[in-house]
């Protein structure tokens, strides 16, 4: 594998994203709203309205609290609820980021190149099928992980600063975030990419590719709802296990698809 070529393709693909406002805007706006504005508003509202509009200690809420380990400093139901929300319910939200980023970039970098007829030129160069596949996967994987990590870093800092000011304690502190960001998010990103690869081999335009890959978000929405309903409880063990399963699944898909990612198959769909 020639890493000089791979690096050049990655650099070119990322420059294609940054050159188009319609592509990079959602990559900035969505994390900003989903992982910063939304949690901060929730945190501030719960602090400001704490006690004024108390959460009723219904049986279902109590059951939900019992499912998670909540530090002793969080006494009232509002505080407990915000703790559970900020540490557990937001995990699926953060997982939307690698899905969205990978989908947008992968759709653009493969189907988009087909659409703009630049992929054909690339196929006429000495770049090997393996190099092209690796470059296309990395060009979407790296930004997806960077965006997720940076978004989490911002969420962690801003959330805890607000919490330290008003509650005198850090609120985002569950260790579950470590495997969530460092294992689950790359695994989800890789799975999204592998599915995107299947789609992009058939899709003729980036729009078609994006529409199909948008379906990947659905399981995450299901995860979020089941968590809030107490049907599914995320813990570190299950998260690591889930990440490993997704990694394996992605690898199986990539290995299955890789032989079909050859010049002839691609050029026949142009």
């Amino acid at each position: 594998m020639n890493w000089f070529r791979i690096r050049a393709i990655i650099k070119k693909d990322i420059s294609a994203i940054t050159a188009r406002k319609s592509l990079w805007m959602p990559l900035i706006l969505v994390p900003f709203i989903l992982c910063l504005i939304l949690p901060c508003v929730m945190l501030l509202l719960s602090i400001k309205l704490g006690g004024k509009a108390p959460i009723h200690n219904s049986g279902s809420i109590d059951k939900l609290f019992k499912l998670y380990t909540i530090p002793a400093e969080f006494i009232t139901s509002d505080q407990k609820f915000v703790y559970v929300f900020m540490n557990y319910a937001f995990i699926p939200m953060f997982m939307i980021l690698p899905v969205m980023t990978s989908s947008i970039i992968a759709a653009y970098s493969i189907s988009g190149e087909k659409e703009k007829k630049t992929l054909e030129t690339l196929l006429y160069t000495p770049v090997s099928n393996k190099e092209l596949l690796t470059a296309k996967l990395l060009a979407a994987f790296i930004p997806a992980i960077v965006i997720t990590v940076v978004s989490f870093g911002t969420y962690f800092c801003v959330g805890n600063i607000i919490s330290l000011i008003y509650l005198k304690t850090m609120i985002i502190r569950s260790f579950i975030w470590i495997p969530a960001i460092l294992m689950l998010s790359p695994a989800i990103s890789l799975l999204t990419l592998s599915l995107n690869l299947i789609i992009s081999l058939r899709a003729k335009s980036s729009q078609e590719s994006q529409q199909l890959s948008g379906l990947i978000v659905l399981p995450l929405v299901f995860l979020l709802i089941s968590q809030l309903q107490g049907l599914l409880v995320l813990n570190t063990f299950y998260l690591i296990l889930f990440s490993l399963i997704l990694f394996l699944l992605s690898m199986v898909i990539i290995n299955k698809i890789a032989p079909r990612f050859d010049r002839e198959s691609i050029i026949n769909t142009l």
């Binding site: 020639n2 000089f4 070529r5 050049a8 070119k12 420059s15 294609a16 050159a19 188009r20 703009k116 007829k117 630049t118 054909e120 030129t121 690339l122 196929l123 006429y124 160069t125 000495p126 770049v127 090997s128 010049r263 002839e264 050029i267 026949n268 142009l270």
Partner: protein, 290 residues
């Protein structure tokens, strides 16, 4: 030395469309070979088989002594196709640097070459402009430069002048000729633009329905459709037409006219044109070709 060879090359696609059938070809080093045929005749498939993008269903290809699917072939050749574009959001210079990287060439190695080639096509001043801001004619010339960055031995050009106005097409055509002759390149040119091909090609091949139906230099091809040449002698008094097979017959006709006491103004040998030969072959029915 033959640098492109095919033997009974055939390609049938998954949908059972026969794109190429028993296709035989030989191209000498340094030659400009023009593959002429109407749309859908198999020209692009031929290029894609020769540059290793497609795998033949049967038969064999040899490019510089290598099988065309060998990665080495892509390092020693380059392809410019009608539909293959470059990156419009990138500058001319960065586009060329990117494609040079695909051939393992670092900026320090390729910069002088880029400067030289862009200067030759009068576009060095435009190097920092985004490719998307240039005219189609300029883009085509940049695409040609992209093909030459790694000093290939063979260049496959598939309709390089399509979509260009006559002036730009002529410029690109001239550029292909100069680059080929100055740099000793072998050019495999696919086109349906007969007059432009006639200006620069040394050898021609006519393709129809995936079959090579005539091949040779202009003289051979033209001769193949007409066994006899026509001679037209204009005198002050008359216009005379004669058919002849050998050139030495011409003197006899001239003498005969002079003996009749006529004053000759002009003597013209009328041979079929390449265009006539093209339509002679391309116009044949499928049954006649078989």
């Amino acid at each position: 030395m033959k640098v492109i060879q095919t033997l009974n090359l055939s390609k049938t696609f998954d949908n059972n469309i026969i794109a190429l059938s028993e296709f035989n070809l030989e191209v000498e080093k340094g030659e400009i070979f023009g593959l002429l045929g109407p749309n859908g005749s198999g020209k692009t498939t031929t290029v894609r088989l020769l540059n290793g993008t497609l795998t033949p269903s049967s038969g064999m290809t040899s490019i510089l002594g290598l099988q065309s699917n060998n990665q080495e072939v892509r390092l020693k050749t380059s392809t410019l196709s009608e539909s293959a574009m470059m990156y419009e959001h990138m500058t001319v210079y960065n586009n060329l640097l990117f494609f040079a990287a695909m051939y393992n060439l670092r900026e320090s190695e390729v910069k002088p070459k880029i400067k030289d080639l862009l200067t030759r096509i009068n576009l060095w001043e435009k190097r920092d402009l985004k490719l998307g801001s240039l005219s189609t004619g300029m883009k085509k010339r940049i695409y040609l430069v992209r093909c030459l960055l790694h000093s290939p031995e063979i260049v496959f050009l598939d309709e390089p002048t399509s979509g260009l106005d006559p002036e730009s097409a002529l410029q690109v055509n001239q550029l292909i000729y100069e680059l080929a002759k100055n740099d000793g390149l072998t050019v495999f040119l696919c086109t349906h633009n007969l007059p432009l091909a006639e200006m620069i090609c040394d050898t021609f091949g006519f393709i129809r329905l995936g079959k090579m139906i005539a091949v040779g230099n202009k003289e051979d091809i033209v001769h193949s459709i007409a066994e006899e040449n026509k001679l037209q002698i204009d005198t002050l008094q008359n216009t005379h037409h004669f058919n002849f097979k050998e050139r030495d017959e011409i003197n006899g006709f001239i003498r005969k006219i002079l003996e009749q006491g006529e004053n000759i103004c002009e003597v013209k040998v009328i041979r079929p044109t390449l265009e006539e030969a093209y339509f002679h072959y391309i116009g044949k029915t499928e049954n006649e070709l078989v």
